[in-house]
Amino acid sequence: MEIIERFLNAIQGIFTDSGLMTLGWQNYVMIGIACVLFYLAIKKEFEPLLLLPIAFGMLLVNLYPAITAAPDTTLMSAAECIKAKGTTDGYATTIINGVQYYNVPHYGGLFYYLYQGVKLGIYPPLIFLGVGAMTDFGPLIANPKSFILGAAAQIGIFITFIGAIFLGFTDAQAGAIGIIGGADGPTAIYVTTKLAPELLGSIAIAAYSYMALVPIIQPPIMRLLTTKKERAVVMEQLRPVSKLEKIIFPVVIVVVISILLPDAAPLVGMLMFGNLLKESGVCDRLSKTAQNELMNIITIFLGTTVGATATGANFLSLSTLKIIALGLIAFMMGSACGVLFGKVMYKATGGKVNPLIGSAGVSAVPMAARVSQRVGQEENPGNFLLMHAMGPNVAGVIGSAVAAGVLLNVLR
């Protein structure tokens, strides 16, 4: 009889703790959204390296919310401690009103610990280290005027800030939403963790989704703002850049930006450190590690833990819809401003600059540059804009880090 009673109690306990009893409807909706993201990442290949870990983190946290639980301590009397743990040895004690209690710790969930890398701003600069080790700044050094286009594309960030303020967000939240327009995932995550951590899930998902949709979002804007003649401009070949210039460049950039905008130093510093590892030619092992193993490990940690911030209660709100709409506006404004400044450069240089390279000023490396190349070739199949567009594209990475520094400095 006792055996059956124990068996039934065990079954009841397991059922009570199961997801069937603990999960709400929001969790099931989020599981559905995670499945949609799986489809987009696997079938459509939309930024799969990040969207897949994000979707899996989202799935896991909505199935088992305790995976992000913070550690805590329970105060137990000596008798309770012995009953629960079998001993009082090794536990710290606290005396309250003359009574001694034992501090029995409860460890946090797996994602709580992994999330510390996001919360403390460790992962985004490490991702930038890998990005720097993979980036060739040669086109930007050969044509430094590309910095103008990299700056122009950041205007979308500040215009979206205004929209967010008028939609009822606080100034810090508006800054975090605006940075989606920089089209730079690590920068968006870095700024959001500092300014509005409560919006991290929505902002990260919006940022990466729009980055994946660059080939769909940008071309209509580019065609709308340029004439056929402008799109067909063939640009002159870039001058060759010496190895010495490529070595000096990261050092100069990190010195200038760290002095002028210290808040941007962690991102720009790691970006340029990665680039120096590559260009120096003497740290091949470190450069390869930064580009591959380290980058991949951090991507897994960053993706899953950012996805895990998208719990049903957090994500399913009107704010998320507003963020998704504002993110799209930010992205479109950034692309449009880049193209418009490209037109200014076209006029200023007497038709030597193809305005299509301006849209590559939103970071999204190298996708945005490839879009410039593709749209340019639609007008003139013999036109190769890729290397010319890489200049504004990598300038956009630096530009979005500078914009992030401005937002952090003003709003924090």
Binding site: I141, F147, I148, E245, V256, R374, L386, L407
Partner: protein, 131 residues
């Protein structure tokens, strides 16, 4: 937050962001342009000095290298489009390595191609096609 303070925050952020981002990046344009000028100038002067040294060493009469004269005097390869001597040497070496010493091959001229061939275009397209 009332309408006035929203307007104030928005306008000040737009102005601050616009001015600082552009100022920093324009400053970087100047720095990178300056760096390019200095480095290119320095490297050019080093190259010129090296060329000068090579010329001077060639002029010295005391160096007598015993070089077997070719059976027939070789005419210099014509290049009307300013192809450098180094490039001519590389192309000649490539041709020699392909045909070997047994074949009688003479390079008459080396000219830059005015435009890519259809095959070259196809290759470049394949390597740069984005999607």
């Amino acid at each position: 937050m009332d309408m006035m303070s929203k307007l104030t925050i928005s306008a000040s952020m737009l102005l601050t962001g616009f001015v600082i981002v552009f100022s920093v990046l324009v400053f970087l344009i100047f720095i990178i342009w300056l760096m390019g000028k200095i480095v290119t100038g320095a490297q050019n002067s080093i190259t010129d000095r090296k060329k000068q040294k090579v010329k001077e060493s060639l002029k010295k009469p005391e160096v007598k290298a015993e070089v077997e004269k070719p059976r027939t005097a070789l005419k210099p390869v014509k290049s009307d489009t300013g192809v450098s001597d180094e490039v001519i040497a590389v192309i000649s070496a490539a041709v020699y390595s392909m045909y070997g010493s047994k074949e009688k091959v003479r390079i008459k001229s080396i000219n830059k191609s005015s435009s890519r061939s259809a095959w070259a275009n196809a290759g470049v397209l394949k390597n740069t096609r984005p999607f």
